[in-house]
């Protein structure tokens, strides 16, 4: 169903409108280009503060954005990650319920929101493209809910790693596959990963080490694992939707 999944790292560094681009007429593309502007943010920069007026929408060109909501007790909860080609902001809304921050250094293609909305209302092809993008976001949000549904930290981590695998066919560089080796590059640091999976850095660390001890993965670097026992991971994930054969087929293809 989803072209979009929870996390993706895909990249061509060149300027693009990514997900929106296809299906648009040259005329619409020209108008889009006219109101677009490329911006770069350093790691941990706040792109849109929680509750603030939404001046821009756009899409991620390079890097990872995290959407998180601050709780009154000072903790924060990540409600989603945005990776290249994902849209950020929310059309037809005045303010954002969560803050949008740079999880890594990011390059964004920004549109002034009102101009973009006007364009959407006048170009049916753009409106359709936006609809598809939003549907993808919705799928991603639901998949993310599934991810968080796992009873144990081990189940959630296994699910997350499998999601990263499945996304390989569409996007590059999360995962390299040579001579039967399955290498997963985790796009965010332990801290963000812990928030993302609804747990703590300590638990993530313990679980990763446990996977390694049990021979399910091998830790190449803290953010780079080799998957040794795919079926084992699938069992750990407690999730029906993964299938070793089709995952491997996807990795080969």
């Amino acid at each position: 169903m989803a072209r979009n999944e929870v996390t993706r790292i895909g990249l061509d560094a060149k300027f693009n409108h990514a997900g929106l681009r296809q299906g648009l007429t040259p005329a619409t593309l020209r108008k889009l280009d006219a109101i677009s502007r490329l911006r770069v943010f350093p790691r941990d920069a706040v792109v849109v503060p929680q509750g603030a007026a939404l001046e821009y929408v756009g899409n991620v060109v390079r890097g990872v954005l995290r959407m998180d909501r601050l709780l009154s007790d000072g903790r924060s909860q990540i409600v989603g990650l945005l990776v290249p080609s994902d849209m950020f902001g929310r059309v037809f809304s005045e303010r954002s319920d969560y803050s949008i921050e740079a999880a890594t250094e990011v390059t964004l293609c920004c549109f002034e929101r009102h101009a973009f909305e006007t364009l959407v209302r006048t170009c049916p092809d753009l409106e359709h493209a936006v609809l598809l993008a939003v549907l993808d976001e919705l799928d991603a949000a639901r998949e993310w809910i599934t991810l968080r549904a796992g009873a144990t930290v081990a189940a959630r981590l296994a699910t997350y790693l499998l999601m990263l695998c499945r996304r390989w066919p569409h996007q590059t560089s999360e995962l390299t596959h040579d001579a039967q080796r399955i290498i997963v590059n985790v796009p965010i640091a332990r801290n963000d990963l812990a928030h993302y999976l609804g747990t703590t850095v300590e638990s993530i660390s313990r679980t990763v080490q446990a996977f390694s001890r049990d021979g399910m993965i091998s830790i190449l670097t803290p953010l780079r694992f080799e998957i040794l026992d795919l079926p084992g991971l699938i069992v750990m994930s407690d999730n029906d939707e993964f299938d070793a054969a089709s995952l491997l087929a996807g990795l080969r293809g």
Copy 2:
């Protein structure tokens, strides 16, 4: 931001296209009516099985739908609730990643999916209406993620009750407000509520009783509470976004 929130019970039993209706031209409405069909499902009926081809999309006229995903260990995870005026199914997708079931007896207004999609592509006003509906669903999904983010069962339950309160201004009958009393009608049974909040019936029961002992609520019936200490509930929820004054203002207005 959201017109749509996690749960809503609103009802006019008469046939309508609810959320989609406004902003549509009479011509589009006529075409929509031509492909629509009203269907009634008994409680616990499966409207769309998980993984099945999606033949219909539509919206809820009366009752509550739950979307849930079955896990390999037999447990199931609710990924969202749909209440009157919400759309179900997913346009432009062949299959559903979760099953859609009736949490109560429901009346649905169904459209054959392909016919609906064709109509969407040819009527820009309908496409815009669908875009807005999907954006609302996305907000609901994110809000639901926030709900599940609460560390403790008590926090999640408090958040849920507050969400039910906030929705009063827009929809009827969850909540009656006479002479300063705030009455909340929970739309689903303990079992579904437990799944929804990511816990068990036992924990729900214990937490509800604890709220009652602490004088925060009074249990009128198992599905009907009176809120006695709104500020206390807000503190329990650990959630910045609720504000007693504006909630009360909303209840009065």
